[in-house]
Amino acid sequence: MIVLFFLIPLSILIAAGFLGAFLWAVRSGQFEDTQTPSMRMLLDEPNPQPHNNPKFQKDLKEP
């Protein structure tokens, strides 16, 4: 059962990965608005991004 000394910290590391994912999701604002994305996906345009305008490409990522 010595393997538990290795497996349990490992399992917590994996869980910490999920915690990290959750924190990232909160920070990037995914919990700010849970309604609009469900409407957006029904719209025909895949993503109304101004691809034609390179000036805005850098702004696509939220700061």
Partner: protein, 835 residues
């Protein structure tokens, strides 16, 4: 979908979608019964027809064509007539004040040399098509970048290029499409409050992560696994648990440490204090056990406690988020005013207004500061200030008070006082108008915790002291155990969950509470004071009464035709009251004299409709009649006096039920700014015990409420408008009645949808029940505590009992508290449609 183009027609109209352009439909269209293709309203006045499509106005047509040209015709396939009616044409100057550097700096979220991002509140967003259109704005105007709509908050964030667009251009573009951004002075006065509980979510995530993992590790030691695998594994589990608990202590529970520290500095005991003390005791005891190799301590309970506490906090926050309260009367004032600069006109922010500035105030605009009337006779609606529903006529050189609203043509003013010194501001700033606000101690939770905390600490100390003589090994254990098991988590959770649920239940029925503490105060109310205008009575849907020789049907039709041309409130109500019998005729040479009346020629007959004084000035003999109730409008046809209409101020429906429901339990008073005319009616309504006072000034209302309070009454004031603001503020619970929830929210404790006035008795009963639910929850958790403390003080508490008892008590109390509040709320009746 009648009248709206089918798919084929839409595609025909938009070359971007289908290359084949079909000729417009040939069959004749009757415009009256066809809804506007853009906004869906019936174009009963001037229908605009373009290429076989019907629009209610030019504004709608312009938007339709603009979208069609830019390949955005899909807008009309996403919903039935999804557009917003263009009520006023956007002028270029309207938003110019936004380009002022100080204004701009406060509004924008982010700006660098090339781009700017701004978030506007756009209340007009109402459907999926709106979302689509606003997120495709960049197709309409070059220079606009990414647009994102937050539908629940009705916000749109827009990125744009500084070189091509100004902030005012973006606002004007939104307004021209029918989505005018909502701009309030409070947005500019201070940094905008961003309701982003991101930090709380992250604290909750960390606590939940630690709670789950520590629980997993703890279970093995509860089941006695160390007997099989030796103490090494348990030691490892202990250190891992401690490491996991560290971020919970330092990050998730940070607010409780801060609260406890505040409480220490102020020498008061708040609810954070015992929680912090309990957590501290848990940490010390657990760390001792872990380092001594004696087990895992109470780290699972610790992280579970913090997790549940944060859940309760988030629940509360979510409830608050739904209530966008305007606590500031300044929010009702127009954000910008039109200043005359010689012959030119310019838009300036209210803050830049100086004494002596010449202002132009148009129909429906508020007077921002005390001013002298310079140009044009004015008709000022002072219903915000005095409660009188009829506008008052003013002549040039008259003094106009801030807060009035011009009705009719544009007037010119010269301000005599700066905005902050105006009548309303001074009314607001009075020392007497500030409510003694001490939610800190008055809230139920804090009152109980004031008793609870010293008691628990005393018991913990005594048991520690006793054990130090009897069995020193048990001393610290019993001290910590008492604090742990008596940790007032249930106490802290019961009130937020029960009252939060109640707030939600009420909000769904268009009753918005400023905070949970209001509900507690509401339960103690024993005196009700009502305002009349707009509270018990509602404008519109009035009883109509004509005195004089009966009019022929034709003559009444002329009157109706005349009223159709005016926006005067009385004309509108008169028109509505007789509309069902008539169709309108053409009116020629229509003149409306503000403050006097209106005249016009219908079928060759001169019809005059207006005030008695105005008709007398034209040489007519108007008989005086004091007995008439309500507002009176006099009529003359072809120079002969014919009689007068009186428009009763109609009571809201079911007011008799309200009066009957309240009469037994409450002392009732009516304070009205109106004259005595309707005393008999309200005596009949409220019964002989109720006290009725008429021609009351705002100060008298305030004084009356203060006298009631000096007699030991807890007073609820139900009123509307800014004139009641003082009385609303003075009362223990001030409720403002509004017709449209989004339209108007004066500083008050409760915002009440107009139709809920009739159900006030039920709301008051519900508030008392909810407070009883909280008390019962306290009792429930007290039961747990008494049992727990009794066992713990004797040093008999085992870790399993401790760990199970604590989350169990919190969860059961939470389930009981919110379940009972929601179940009781069902008796309040069906939820209202959102206003």
């Amino acid at each position: 979908m009648a009248g709206c183009p089918g798919d084929a027609e839409v595609e025909a109209a938009f070359p971007g979608i289908s290359p084949i352009r079909q000729p417009p439909a040939l069959q004749p269209v009757s415009f009256e019964d066809q809804p506007c293709c853009h906004c869906g309203s019936l174009p009963w006045a001037g229908a605009v027809v373009s290429e076989g499509k019907v629009f209610c106005c030019q504004g709608c047509r312009t938007v339709f064509e603009l979208l069609a040209e830019n390949g955005l015709g899909d807008f009309y396939r996403l919903g039935k007539q999804p557009g917003v009616q263009i009520k006023t044409k956007t002028k270029v100057g309207d938003f110019k004040f936004l380009d002022d550097p100080t204004v701009r700096e406060r509004l924008v979220d982010f700006a660098d040399a090339a781009t700017t991002r701004v978030t506007f509140r756009v209340p007009a967003v109402h459907c999926i098509a709106c979302v689509w259109l606003l997120e495709n704005l960049f197709r309409l105007k070059p220079g606009i970048g990414r647009c994102r709509v937050n539908f629940p908050r009705k916000e749109v964030s827009i990125t744009f290029e500084n070189s091509q667009l100004e902030l005012s251009d973006v606002a004007a573009l939104l307004a021209s499409l029918g989505y005018p951004p909502e701009l309030k002075l409070s947005d500019l006065a201070e940094q905008r409050r961003r309701p982003t509980p991101k930090r709380l979510w992250m604290q909750l995530g960390v606590a939940g992560f630690a709670f789950g993992n520590i629980m997993l590790l703890s279970i093995s030691s509860y089941l006695g696994l160390d007997r099989f695998y030796g103490p090494g594994l348990e030691r490892l589990f202990g250190y891992i648990s401690l490491a996991l608990a560290l971020p919970v202590l330092l990050y998730s529970a940070a607010d409780y440490w801060r609260g406890a520290w505040r409480s220490l500095r102020r020498r008061t005991l708040n609810i954070e204090m015992p929680i912090a003390l309990g957590i501290l005791a848990l940490v010390i005891q657990s760390a001792r056990e872990v380092f001594a190799g004696g087990g895992l301590g109470y780290l699972d309970s610790l992280s579970g406690l913090v997790f549940f506490l944060l859940c309760g906090k988030l629940f509360q926050q979510k409830t608050y988020d739904r209530l966008a309260f305007d606590l500031d009367y300044r929010s009702f004032f127009p954000l910008s005013v039109t200043r005359k600069n010689g012959a030119a006109e310019e838009q300036v922010a209210l803050a830049q207004l100086r004494t002596g500035d010449r202002l132009l105030v148009r129909n429906g605009e508020l007077i921002p500061a005390d001013a002298r009337l310079v140009g044009g006779p004015a008709l000022i609606d002072y219903s915000f200030v005095t409660g009188e529903s009829e506008p008052a006529a003013r002549q040039p050189e008259d003094h106009l008070y801030a807060g009035g609203r011009q009705v009719g043509g544009a007037i010119e003013l010269e301000t005599v006082k700066p905005v902050s010194h105006s009548y309303l501001a001074s009314l607001w700033d009075q020392e007497a108008f500030r409510k003694e606000k001490c939610p800190f101690f008055d809230t139920l939770t804090n009152r109980y915790s004031r008793l609870f905390t010293p008691l628990v600490i005393a018991i913990a100390l005594i048991s520690a002291l006793v054990w130090s003589f009897v069995n020193p090994a048990l001393s610290l254990k019993s001290f910590a155990s008492v604090l742990i098991v008596a940790c007032p988590c249930a106490l802290a959770l019961a009130a937020p969950f029960a009252l939060g649920t109640a707030q939600r239940v009420l909000a769904r029925r268009n009753v918005f509470l400023k905070n949970a503490a209001v509900l507690e105060t509401l339960a103690r109310v024993d005196a009700m004071v009502f305002d009349k205008t707009g509270t018990l009575t509602a404008g519109g849907g009035a009883g109509l009464d004509f005195e004089g020789a009966a009019l022929s049907e034709q003559e009444e039709r002329w009157v109706y035709s005349l009223t159709r041309h005016s926006t005067h409130p009385l004309a509108v109500r008169l028109g509505q009251a007789i509309a069902h019998r008539h169709v309108s005729e053409a009116v020629r040479s229509f003149i409306e004299t503000p403050g006097c009346g209106m005249e016009g020629s219908v079928s060759g007959h001169q019809v005059w409709l207006g005030a008695a004084a105005w008709l007398e000035a034209r040489g007519l003999n108007v008989p005086a009649n004091e007995s008439r109730t309500g507002s009176v409008v006099h009529l003359a046809i072809d120079g002969a006096y014919r009689g007068s209409y009186s428009l009763a101020n109609a009571l809201r429906p079911e007011m008799d039920k309200l009066a009957a429901g309240l009469a037994d339990d409450f002392e009732i008073a009516l304070l009205s700014g109106d004259t005595e005319r309707e005393r008999a009616r309200f005596t009949a309504l409220f019964g002989p015990k109720a006290r009725l006072f008429f021609t009351q000034s705002p100060f008298q209302k305030l004084e009356f409420i203060r006298r009631l309070q000096q007699d030991g009454r807890t007073v609820m004031m139900v009123g509307d408008g800014l004139n009641d603001a003082g009385a609303l503020q003075q009362s223990d619970v001030g409720a403002a009645v509004v017709e449209k929830i989004s339209a108007f929210s004066p500083a008050s404790d409760i915002i009440l949808g107009g139709r809920m006035v009739a159900r006030l008795a039920g709301i008051l009963r519900y508030s008392r029940q909810c407070v009883r639910v909280v008390r019962a929850s306290f009792l429930l958790s007290a039961l747990y505590n008494i049992v727990g403390i009794a066992v713990a003080a004797r040093g008999l508490m085992s870790p399993i009992v401790c760990a199970v008892l604590m989350p169990l008590s919190s969860v059961s109390v939470v389930v009981f508290a919110s379940g009972a509040a929601a179940w009781l709320g069902r008796r309040l009746g069906q939820p209202e449609e959102p206003a």
